[in-house]
C-alpha cells in the first residue's frame, strides 16, 4: 500500500505539466467528440465518419506522449489549446466541406510528425539562427519559383500561390512566413546593439540611417512583390505588419513605427490605384451594401452568418454557413459564429489571443537569450496578427485579406507551418 502523502504525488513539476496537459486534452477530446457526434446526428451522417475524430484523438495522444519525453518542462497550455482548435476546425470542415475533411486529417498527421520532429531536434533551435541567410535565400527562391511556376489547385482563374506535384499542393508563402520570422529574429538578435544607437549614429552620419531603412525597404519591397505579382494581399500585409512589429521591438523607435504605417498606407493607395483586387477589396469594405449579391457577396454572407448565429448559435450542422464561398478556409470563423453563436466565436477569439499573448509572455521570459526571445515574439505576433487580419476581414472591421485562421481553417501548408511554429514555441518554453 502506498503510504506517501498525497501532496508528494504532485511534487514532480514534470508530472504536473503532463497531467495538466493531459486533462486539457481530454476536455478538448470530449468537446470535439461531442461536436462530431452532434454533427452526425444533425446531418444524418454515417457513424463511420467518426474516424476523423479518431485521427485527432490519436494525434493528440501521440503528440502528448512524444512531447512528454522530448520536452518534459514545456508550457502545458500550448499543445492542448492548439489541438482543441484543430479538432474544432476539423469538425467544422467536415460539416461545411466534407470533401476536404480527409485531406485536413492527413495534414494533421503530417503536421504532428513535423512538430514531434522539431521537438526532438537534438540541437534544438541553434541551427536555425546559424544558417539564417540559407533560410532567407531559400524563402526568396521559393517565392521566385511560385511567381514562375505557381498554380491554383482550384483552377487557372484564382491567384497562383501554390506549388504542386501530383495533386499535392503547398503554399510557399507559408514556408516563407516561417523562414522570415527565423531570419528576422536572428538578424535583430545579432544587431540589437546597433539598433539601440541613435538613428543617425553617434557621429550623425546619414549612412547609419541605412541600418534601419535598408531592412525596412527590403521587406516593403518583398511585400509589394508578393502583392503585385502574386496578388496575395493577405500574405503581403501579414509579412509587413509582423516585420514592422519586430523592428519596433528591436529598435524601440516610434518614428520607425509611424514610418512603417505610412508605408502601409502609401502602398495601400498605390495598390488601390494599380491593383484591381485591392481596389475591389477596399470598395467592398467601404460599402458592401452597394452590391451584396455579387461583388460583396462573400463579406455580406459572412456578416449574415454571424447575425444568424446570435448568442447561442444555430447548432452544429443546423445553420447555413455554406452560402459563404470558401467558408472552410478564409471564412471558417463565420461558420463558427453561425453554428456556435457568439459564445463559440468569442471562445475562438480568446484562445487565439491566449496563444499570441502567451508567445509574447515567453519572449519576455527569454529576454536574456535574444534570438529565442525574438523568435517567441515573432511567432506570437504572427499568430496574433494573422488571426486579427482574417477575423477583422470576416467582420468588416478591415478590408478582407485572404489568410487562414490559424489551426481552424482548412489548409495543409498553413497547418504544417503553424504546428512548426508551435513546436518552436514549445522548445522555447522548455528553456525558460
Amino acid at each position: 500500500m502506498n503510504t506517501r502523502p498525497i501532496a508528494l504525488l504532485f511534487d514532480d513539476p514534470e508530472q504536473a505539466i503532463n497531467r495538466r496537459e493531459r486533462v486539457l486534452l481530454v476536455l478538448a477530446g470530449l468537446f470535439t467528440l461531442t461536436a462530431h457526434l452532434t454533427l452526425i446526428a444533425a446531418r444524418h451522417l454515417e457513424g463511420g465518419t467518426l474516424w476523423l475524430w479518431g485521427v485527432w484523438a490519436l494525434s493528440a495522444a501521440g503528440g502528448h506522449l512524444s512531447l512528454s519525453r522530448a520536452l518534459p518542462r514545456r508550457d502545458p497550455y500550448f499543445f492542448p489549446v492548439v489541438m482543441f482548435l484543430v479538432g474544432w476546425g476539423l469538425a467544422i470542415i467536415h460539416r461545411v466541406a466534407p470533401e476536404f475533411a480527409g485531406r485536413q486529417a492527413f495534414w494533421l498527421i503530417i503536421s504532428l510528425i513535423a512538430l514531434i520532429g522539431v521537438s526532438r531536434s537534438p540541437d534544438h533551435l541553434r541551427w536555425l539562427s546559424r544558417y539564417r541567410y540559407v533560410w532567407l535565400f531559400s524563402g526568396l527562391i521559393l517565392l521566385a519559383l511560385t511567381i514562375i511556376l505557381g498554380r491554383n489547385p482550384a483552377g487557372d482563374y484564382g491567384p497562383r500561390l501554390w506549388l504542386g506535384v501530383d495533386g499535392i499542393f503547398f503554399q510557399p508563402a507559408e514556408v516563407l512566413k516561417l523562414l522570415l520570422i527565423v531570419f528576422i529574429s536572428s538578424y535583430f538578435a545579432q544587431y540589437r546593439q546597433m539598433f539601440a544607437e541613435p538613428i543617425f549614429g553617434a557621429n550623425g552620419r546619414i549612412t547609419d540611417l541605412l541600418r534601419y531603412v535598408a531592412p525596412l525597404a527590403l521587406m516593403w519591397g518583398l511585400s509589394m512583390v508578393i502583392l503585385v505579382w502574386q496578388r496575395d494581399l493577405g500574405t503581403a500585409m501579414l509579412f509587413f505588419v509582423v516585420f514592422l512589429a519586430m523592428l519596433y521591438l528591436a529598435s524601440g523607435r516610434l518614428l520607425i513605427l509611424i514610418g512603417g504605417i505610412g508605408l502601409i498606407l502609401g502602398a495601400g493607395v498605390l495598390a488601390y490605384i494599380g491593383v484591381d483586387l485591392v481596389r475591389a477589396r477596399i470598395d467592398v469594405w467601404l460599402n458592401p451594401w452597394l452590391d451584396p449579391r455579387n461583388r460583396s457577396f462573400q463579406v455580406v454572407q459572412s456578416l449574415m452568418a454571424f447575425a444568424s448565429g446570435g448568442i447561442w448559435g444555430q447548432g452544429i450542422g443546423q445553420g447555413s454557413p455554406t452560402y459563404i464561398p470558401v467558408v472552410h478556409s478564409d471564412f471558417i470563423f463565420a461558420a463558427v459564429g453561425e453554428e456556435w453563436g457568439l459564445l463559440g466565436a468569442l471562445s475562438v477569439v480568446v484562445l487565439l489571443a491566449f496563444l499570441a499573448l502567451r508567445g509574447l509572455r515567453l519572449a519576455i521570459l527569454l529576454q536574456a537569450r535574444p534570438f529565442r526571445s525574438y523568435l517567441a515574439a515573432g511567432v506570437g505576433i504572427t499568430l496574433g496578427a494573422q488571426s486579427l487580419l482574417i477575423m477583422g476581414g470576416a467582420l468588416r472591421l478591415i478590408p478582407l485579406t485572404g489568410v487562414t485562421l490559424p489551426f481552424l481553417s482548412y489548409g495543409g501548408s498553413s497547418l504544417l507551418i503553424s504546428f512548426l511554429m508551435i513546436g518552436m514555441i514549445l522548445i522555447l518554453s522548455e528553456e525558460v
Partner: protein
C-alpha cells in the same frame, strides 16, 4: 524590451477586444436588421423548408400539395408546391411563390397552411431552437376535383369563368378561371404570363368584371314580382329590337309569337320589353333598391378572400340622361358584375328568395392528423363552422315565378340546351344572353339545377369574345351532368 513587448501585446489585445465587440454588434444588436435584408438566402431557405399543408377537395383528393425536392445548399429540405393535373384548372385557388408572394386561398389561409395556427408560442419557439421541420395544416375545400377540372377543360382554350355553388349550403363546388396557369411554375413563367394577352393571371371567377347584359333582367323581374307576386306585366311588341349605345339588341331566341308579358320576354331574352320599366311599373329608385338588395354593387366575400375593389356606380335615380338609364336597365351601362356575383344573384332565386353565404373551406386538419382518415362530413371533428344563412331578399312566391320562367328558358327559351340529356331527374333552369363590351361581346349563362335529393346547383358561366349564348348554356349542361 519587455516594455515594448507589453506594448505590442496591448495592441494585439486591443485588436482582439475590437473583434469581440464587433462580434457582439453583429450577433446581438445589428442582428435583426441584417437578417431581414432581402439578400439573406436563409430567408428563402427557411421558407422552402416549410412543408405547407395540402389543399384537398371535398372527397379528400389532393388538389395542391408540397413535394420534397432535394436539399438546400445547407442541407435543409426543399419543398415545392405542386397542383393536380391539369394544374391550370386550379389557378383560381391561388398561388404560392417565393418571388411573387402568396395569393388567393394560399394567401388567406397562409397561417394554417404554414402550420402556425396549430402550435402554441412555446412549441413554436422550441421547434425553432431544435430546428424541427415546420409542417402546415391541411385544408379541405368544398370543391369537387373532377367538376373543377372538367369545367376548366370545357372552355377548350376560350377565355371565361364558371362558378358552381350548392344551394342552400353555399358550398362552392367549382371555381374556374380560363385560361389558368400552373402555379408551381409561376416564378419561371411570370413574365410570359403577365404579357399574355389572354391575361391568365386574372382570376376571372372572382375578379373578372363583365357587363351583365340580359342577365340583369333576372333581378329586375324578381323586383317586379316582389312588388306584385301575381302580376302579369303585359308588354306590347316585346320582341322589338332596342338600340343602345349604337347597338341593336334583339331577343336571344326569336319566339314564334311576340311575348305578351314581361316574364315571356324574359324567357326568350327579349330586352326591348324591359326599357319601359321605370316609367310604367317601378321607379328607378325602387329598382336601384333591388339592385342593392341583390348585392350587385358590393362584391361578395368567399371565406376570407378580399372582395374586389371597384369604382362606385351612379345610382339609377340620379341618372339624368334617359339613354343612360336605358343602357343600365339593359345591363349595358356602368354596372359590371363578376361571375361569382352572378351566381349569388341566381342563388337568391334558387333558394326561395333567400341569399346564401358562399364558402370554400370546410375543414382544417392540424399537421398531426391524416386528413384521409376523415370525410369532412358533419361528424368530422375538424370541420369548420359553415357560414350563417343569408337574409331574405325577395318573397318565396316571387322566387317561384322567376324559377318557373327560368325553367321555361331552358325548355324553349334563351337557355335551351342547358338541360342534361337523359337525366330528367335533374331539372335545369336558366337564362342565357349576350352582353356587349365595346368592340367585343361575351356570352352568359346563369341558372341552376334541382337534384333529386333536394339540393340545387347554381351555375354562372361567362365566355369572352362569344356571340353565342348556346355555347355558355352547353357548358352549363356539362356542369349539370356532373351532378348525376
Amino acid at each position: 524590451m519587455s516594455q515594448r513587448l507589453n506594448q505590442i501585446g496591448t495592441v494585439l489585445l486591443i485588436g482582439f477586444v475590437g473583434v469581440a465587440l464587433s462580434l457582439t454588434y453583429w450577433m446581438v444588436w445589428g442582428r435583426d436588421a441584417l437578417l431581414a435584408q432581402s439578400f439573406n438566402p436563409r430567408l428563402v431557405e427557411t421558407e422552402r423548408a416549410i412543408k405547407r399543408g395540402t389543399i384537398l377537395d371535398r372527397q379528400g383528393e389532393a388538389l395542391i400539395w408540397s413535394a420534397a425536392e432535394g436539399l438546400s445548399p445547407s442541407g435543409m429540405p426543399n419543398y415545392r408546391r405542386i397542383s393536380a393535373v391539369p394544374a391550370e384548372s386550379f389557378s383560381a385557388l391561388g398561388y404560392y411563390s417565393l418571388t411573387y408572394g402568396v395569393g388567393g386561398l394560399e394567401s388567406v389561409y397562409d397561417r394554417e397552411l404554414r402550420g402556425e395556427n396549430a402550435l402554441s408560442p412555446e412549441t413554436r419557439l422550441l421547434n425553432t431552437l431544435l430546428h424541427h421541420p415546420q409542417e402546415g395544416s391541411s385544408i379541405r375545400l368544398t370543391l369537387y376535383k373532377t367538376l373543377q377540372t372538367q369545367t376548366y377543360q370545357a372552355f377548350k382554350g376560350r377565355r371565361g369563368a364558371a362558378v358552381v355553388i350548392e344551394v342552400p349550403t353555399g358550398a362552392v363546388l367549382a371555381l374556374v378561371s380560363a385560361p389558368g396557369f400552373d402555379a408551381a411554375r409561376l416564378d419561371l413563367d411570370f413574365d410570359r404570363l403577365e404579357e399574355d394577352q389572354n391575361a391568365p393571371l386574372l382570376n376571372r371567377a372572382l375578379q373578372g368584371v363583365y357587363q351583365p347584359g340580359g342577365m340583369l333582367q333576372s333581378a329586375l323581374i324578381a323586383a317586379l314580382l316582389n312588388t306584385d307576386p301575381d302580376g302579369e306585366f303585359p308588354v306590347e311588341q316585346g320582341d322589338q329590337p332596342v338600340k343602345v349605345n349604337g347597338l341593336s339588341l334583339t331577343c336571344t331566341v326569336i319566339p314564334d309569337q311576340p311575348p305578351r308579358t314581361l316574364l315571356e320576354a324574359y324567357v326568350y331574352g327579349c330586352p326591348g320589353a324591359f326599357t319601359t320599366l321605370p316609367s310604367g311599373i317601378l321607379s328607378p329608385a325602387r329598382l336601384w333598391q333591388m339592385v342593392e338588395s341583390f348585392h350587385l354593387t358590393t362584391p361578395p366575400l368567399i371565406d376570407r378572400l378580399e372582395p374586389l375593389t371597384r369604382s362606385a356606380v351612379t345610382p339609377w335615380m340620379n341618372l339624368t340622361d334617359p339613354a343612360q338609364l336605358q343602357a343600365e336597365l339593359l345591363g349595358q351601362g356602368k354596372l359590371t358584375l363578376t361571375p361569382l356575383q352572378m351566381a349569388l344573384n341566381t342563388a337568391i332565386i334558387a333558394n326561395e328568395g333567400n341569399a346564401i353565404t358562399p364558402y370554400m373551406v370546410s375543414a382544417i386538419y392540424p399537421p398531426t392528423v391524416n386528413p384521409q382518415d376523415y370525410d369532412g362530413g358533419e361528424t368530422d371533428p375538424y370541420r369548420t363552422s359553415p357560414p350563417p344563412a343569408g337574409e331574405a331578399v325577395i318573397t318565396r312566391e316571387a322566387a317561384d315565378r322567376v324559377q318557373a320562367a327560368m325553367r321555361e328558358g331552358v325548355l324553349r327559351g334563351s337557355a335551351e340546351g342547358a338541360q342534361p340529356s337523359g337525366s330528367p331527374e335533374i331539372q335545369a333552369h336558366g337564362a342565357a344572353g349576350i352582353a356587349y363590351t365595346g368592340k367585343t361581346a361575351h356570352a352568359w349563362f346563369i341558372g341552376f339545377a334541382t337534384l333529386p335529393d333536394g339540393r340545387k346547383w347554381v351555375v354562372s358561366v361567362v365566355i369572352e369574345d362569344s356571340l353565342n349564348p348556346a355555347s355558355a348554356a352547353a357548358l352549363a349542361r356539362g356542369i349539370f351532368e356532373q351532378a348525376r
